[in-house]
Amino acid sequence: MKQDKTIGNRLFDIINNSLLLFVALACSLPFIYVVAVSFTSPAQVAQGGIILFPKEWSLSAYRYIFSTDTLMRSMMVSIYITVVGTFINLVFTSLMAYPLAKRHLRGRRTIMMGVLFTMLFGGGLIPTYFVVKALHLTDTLWSLMIPTAISAFNLIVLKNFFQQIPDGLEDSAKIDGCNDLGVLIRIVLPLSLPAMATFGLFYAVGHWNQFFNAILYINDNTKWPIQVLLREIVILASGRIGDTNIDDAEIQPLTIRMAVIVFATLPILVVYPFLQKHFAKGAMLGSVKG
């Protein structure tokens, strides 16, 4: 694309770029710092010498966090609930959103009102806990996936997305002998890949950051996801949460806390770039070719 190189344009470019650069740095510097600290030797950190690049490299923090299998096990739990949970989310959300997108569905408005209602009024902590308990979900990983299977907000957005798909497409599919489920699986979902990827990412990040529900529903510590562990290690050190016996507790050194943060963030960071391109596609790629 050719641009006018007027002074005003250039000035705009310079200001714009430096502003964006500043924002980008502000976002990434803290994380770079965390990574740097995690690779520095503990003695160096105590002297406060590191800024963005470790002077003395050391893997001791990582050696420590992998010395027991606790962290690895929690990581596996998190990966499991993220993969399986996101799959459940996408299946259920699209199965509900698709019929709701059809104008000929009877009772559509009532169901939509019901969905909206849950967005405004929640049952509250204790009643929700009772429901989960009554379903015998407590102490299982399902308790982290089933109660959050459909997010009302995502459902509505996905419904609107489905509505944009031209009816003509589906009509022609039906003429060719496709049933409703077939239309959804063969026509609608492939056309909605960008949307599915986007929501998949939303859901996945949500599962990855699962913390409070895990504390609430899971008693068996071998089933704790990584965030519970992470929070335990990091919060205990920084806040000391006013408990009288924390004062004499051994606090984990900063390097170890940072290493755990890096370890817990890594997977989602690795996945992100691959899904990110789908965001760019945004709206559907329209075409009414049969």
């Binding site: 009772f130 409703d180 704790w224 335990e232 408990d243 507790a249």
Partner: protein, 498 residues
């Protein structure tokens, strides 16, 4: 056609439910001792969670004839989880509670056994000082066994090498404090040619909670511990007393002259620790032991020498008494239905303090975590001690090495000196008279009220408000509920001390 959709979703749902598998059925309690008593124990997690059925748990189960099942809850969310458990009545036989409004409410509702009258029947529990139990009482009734901690933990730790270089002693009066603080900040005790050292360093919790630096300093100067009470039962908060205000004035002066860290209002405790450990700060009130500071600081400053002194003011040794517990163990009525069964659990708790169990909880397994070395015991593996023993030491009742322990662990002199002062401290503590008093407005808006005055203190110290502004803040506090708080404390106090 629609059927298929239903079928698919229905089958996914069923699969989910089947996979979730139902919980195990409830076991009947065996009370006659023929079979180990099945006991579920809920506590907060300390450090890493030990694997189930490790040597320590096995030894406890064998000694107490119980089938012990410990559920660890992360400390960071302990209270929330316990609140849910109380609300849903999904409780174990023994649970650690904290002394906070929700649990106090549950205690008042009679959801837990009142164990106070039975304590005397259990030798180990009865041997502990009355004060420990008083500090967890609700309306004068005792509902649990505390996880014992020292009542007076505050000691003064300082860089002896610095004070020696400067020709100073550990401070006693407020004037001493000023001189010491000024000397350390300005006379360059570390001889690096820069004014980069502080005496006392404050963090953002300097005037909050049990370990409040300001309260510790003020109490040594004659202030009450959080609240003062006179003979008629009138309550006065510490910040309305003269010695406390004098102490605040000193801190204000220190701040103005740049003798304390200027960012104190926003700094975390862990940041402060770094200053002390890297040899940039020289004196602190501490509930820990001086040896651990010594161990850490010599990594950065090899010539550093730490010493410890009791907290002393113009009237001699004086320090604020703390709660003496890290929560307490309570027995829910929902799961423990009969008095007989409740007694069985109390017996279990009592047994944990028998010599054999006390040694196990405090030191771990012989020849694995510690060994006998003549007059003393020696820790064999510090890492194993922290990972495997500490979780039990911190969450089961014991008096550390102060009770039923035959041989003390071998420790450096500095550690022993610290311990000695802490033990003696029991005689010099100033108790907080409002600690267990019932107040509706406190449960409702206590934190908010506290925030009003702690914020005003910070503003006063930083010079944002003057003395008149501070007085206005007190008036404001009184109007917004302070007066009511004082009145409610008085009423509760008179009710109990009739």
């Amino acid at each position: 056609m629609k059927k298929k959709v239903h079928l698919l979703s229905a089958s996914v749902m069923t699969a989910a439910l089947v996979l979730s598998a139902c919980g195990a059925g409830k076991e009947a309690a065996v009370l006659d001792g023929s079979k180990p008593y099945s006991l579920k124990y809920v506590v907060n997690q300390v450090g890493e969670i030990p694997t189930k059925g490790n040597e320590i748990e096995k030894a406890i189960m064998e000694y107490t004839n119980t089938d012990l099942n410990i559920q660890w809850i992360p400390a960071s969310a302990y209270d929330e989880k316990v609140n849910v458990m109380i609300a849903s009545e999904e409780l174990p036989q023994l649970i650690k509670l904290g002394y906070n409004p929700t649990t106090i409410g549950a205690l008042k509702n009679g959801q837990f056994w009142e164990v106070g009258p039975f304590i005397k029947d259990y030798p180990n529990l009865a041997a502990q000082s009355e004060e420990f139990y008083q500090n967890i009482s609700v309306n004068g009734k005792i509902y649990g066994v505390p996880l014992f901690r020292d009542l007076g933990r505050a000691t003064l730790h300082y860089r002896k090498d610095w004070l020696d270089t400067l020709g100073l002693q550990a401070p006693v009066t407020l004037d001493d404090w000023y001189n010491v603080m000024k000397a350390i900040a300005k006379k360059d005790p570390d001889k690096n040619g820069k004014d980069d050292t502080y005496g006392l360093v404050f963090d953002k919790k300097y005037n909050q909670e049990a370990a409040s630096t300001l309260t510790r300093l003020a109490v040594s100067q004659g202030a009450p511990n959080k609240w003062a009470v006179d003979e008629e039962g009138n309550f006065t908060p510490e910040f309305m007393t003269e010695p406390y205000f004098e102490t605040m004035k000193l801190v204000k002066r220190l701040y103005e002259e740049g003798l304390i860290n200027q960012d104190f209002a926003v700094v975390d405790t862990s940041e402060i620790d770094k200053l002390y450990e890297s040899g940039r700060a020289g004196i602190r009130f501490s509930g820990g032991n001086a040896q651990s500071w010594q161990d850490k600081v010599i990594k950065n400053v090899p010539e550093a020498v730490i010493d410890v002194a009791p907290v002393t003011g113009p009237e001699g040794r004086r320090l604020p008494g703390e709660t003496g517990n890290a929560g307490f163990l309570a027995i829910p009525k929902k799961t423990v239905k009969t008095e007989e069964e409740m007694k069985l659990i109390l017996k279990f708790v009592d047994q944990l303090m028998d010599p054999e169990m006390a040694t196990l909880l405090v030191k771990g397994v012989e020849n694995k975590h510690w060994k006998d070395a003549g007059d003393v015991t020696e820790v064999l593996d510090r890492d194993a001690d922290l990972k495997e023993v500490k979780p039990y030491r911190d969450t089961m009742p014991n008096r550390n090495e102060n009770y039923n322990i035959e041989k003390l662990a071998k420790q450096p002199d500095l550690f022993r000196k610290s311990q000695k002062f802490v033990k003696e401290n029991d005689e010099f503590i100033v108790p907080n008279p409002a600690l267990t008093l019932d107040s509706a407005i406190y449960s409702e808006r206590g934190k908010e009220l506290e925030l009003m005055t702690t914020d005003a203190q910070t503003k006063y110290i930083m010079g944002q408000i003057d003395e008149a502004g501070w007085q206005a803040a007190i008036e404001q506090w009184k109007k917004q509920g302070g007066n009511q708080l004082m009145a409610e404390y008085k009423e509760a106090y008179l009710n109990i001390n009739k």
